[in-house]
């Protein structure tokens, strides 16, 4: 009898652990999620409107659908991808790689390299960036200030128009 009870006890313990000790771990829609201090981390979002932050890591990235905000700073290699209507900031990094959809607002500053692909009606600012390279897949505005090089390409229609010193646009100047 005691053997049976011991075995049942073990299995009960493990069954309870299987239910209670493991849990789903997504960053839920609208939540604030953060990764910091470590080698690498990639933050996902279970839907839209997440508020994501990466900092003080070797490699860190955020992935989200629409309407998200993401900050990446003091990370050697930052990665940010987002759907439409996002607000992104990348700073104090060796490289910032960004892919976002329409109505994207990207602020890259104090970074060696900022390389981005943005959707229509997006606004990009590169400030104190050695190399700023932006591909716009629709109308966009890129403001380069204090950059060693600023390359703006309008996907499918060649280089952007320089509206005034440091301000480039695809699809007509603002």
């Amino acid at each position: 009898m005691s053997r049976v009870l011991a075995v049942l006890g073990f299995f009960l313990f493990w069954s309870l652990c299987a239910v209670g000790c493991t849990s789903g771990g997504n960053c839920s829609s609208g939540a604030h999620c953060e990764c910091f201090n470590g080698d690498q981390c990639f933050l996902g979002c279970d839907g839209d409107h997440c508020d994501q932050s990466c900092h003080n890591m070797n490699r860190c990235g955020t992935v989200c659908d629409d309407g998200c905000s993401s900050t990446c700073h003091d990370v050697r290699h930052c990665s940010q991808s987002c759907g439409s209507g996002c607000g992104l900031e990348c700073r104090n990094s060796d490289s910032c790689g960004v892919i976002c959809g329409d109505h994207c607002r990207l602020n890259c500053h104090d970074t060696a390299q900022c390389s981005a692909e943005v959707g229509a009606d997006s606004e990009v600012t590169c400030q104190s960036v050695k190399q700023c390279a932006v591909v716009c897949t629709g109308p966009c505005t890129v403001n380069c200030n204090g950059t060693d090089s600023c390359m703006v390409d309008c996907a499918g229609s060649g280089p952007a128009k320089e509206c005034k010193p440091g301000v480039f646009a695809c699809g007509g100047c603002p």
Partner: protein
């Protein structure tokens, strides 16, 4: 009042049971009788895994999985002549799926910008393969119970990346017979529950 009597009665009963079991266990103890244990050369143990610990190199939350461990007995008389101990070398293969913590995981898919800068576009909680190699130091306490410690290292693999993690386990077996036991481990990188077959 009846509740208090019940609690006191329960305490006496539990105390009596513990003393009785301890006395019986002491009477049947085999820890000071070297060699009084199941004879085997190889232990095969498939097991389930649970871990409250994160993965070795990315934030990952807790996890679960399954695996198998094979242990070859290399020193039947162990390290301590007066104790019923033995030593084996264990090799394993464990798969663990981590649940991810607050959206944190590793990058499942990268895309590249025109300048070749990688951008993660899909994340996933990580899956790991561990290959542990451990020293298993057994202590044969009783005809039905044995315990062991397992220090070692594990090579791990995750999505194209490799690394090495420490392993430290403390475990116990409940022996149904001389050739089959229920085996549990607590430690890092994961807890395990399995059935050992002794050959």
């Amino acid at each position: 009042m009846s509740g208090r009597w019940f609690r006191q009665l329960l305490l006496v009963a539990v105390g009596g049971l513990v003393l009785s079991l301890a006395d019986r266990a002491h009477a049947q103890s085999s820890i000071r009788v070297p060699g009084q244990r199941p004879k085997y050369a190889f232990e095969l143990e498939p097991h389930l895994l649970l871990t409250p610990f994160g993965a070795p190199d990315v934030p990952s939350g807790d996890g679960y999985g399954l695996g198998v461990r094979g242990t070859i007995e290399v020193a039947p008389d162990g390290f301590i002549p007066k104790l019923n101990d033995s030593v084996g070398i264990g090799f394993g293969l464990d798969w663990i799926h981590y649940n991810g913590a607050a959206g944190r995981g590793y990058c499942w898919q990268f895309e590249y910008t025109a300048q070749g800068v990688p951008v993660c576009v899909e994340t996933s909680p990580p899956n790991y393969i561990f290959v542990p190699v451990v020293m298993q130091w057994n202590f044969w306490l009783h005809r039905q119970w044995s315990v062991f410690g397992e220090p070692g290292l594990a090579l791990y693999h995750r999505s194209g990346e490799f690394g090495v993690a420490p392993v430290f386990m403390a475990g116990g077996r409940f022996h149904f017979s001389d050739s089959v036991s229920l085996t549990m481990r607590l430690g890092y990188p994961s807890f395990s529950l399995g059935v050992s077959f002794l050959f």
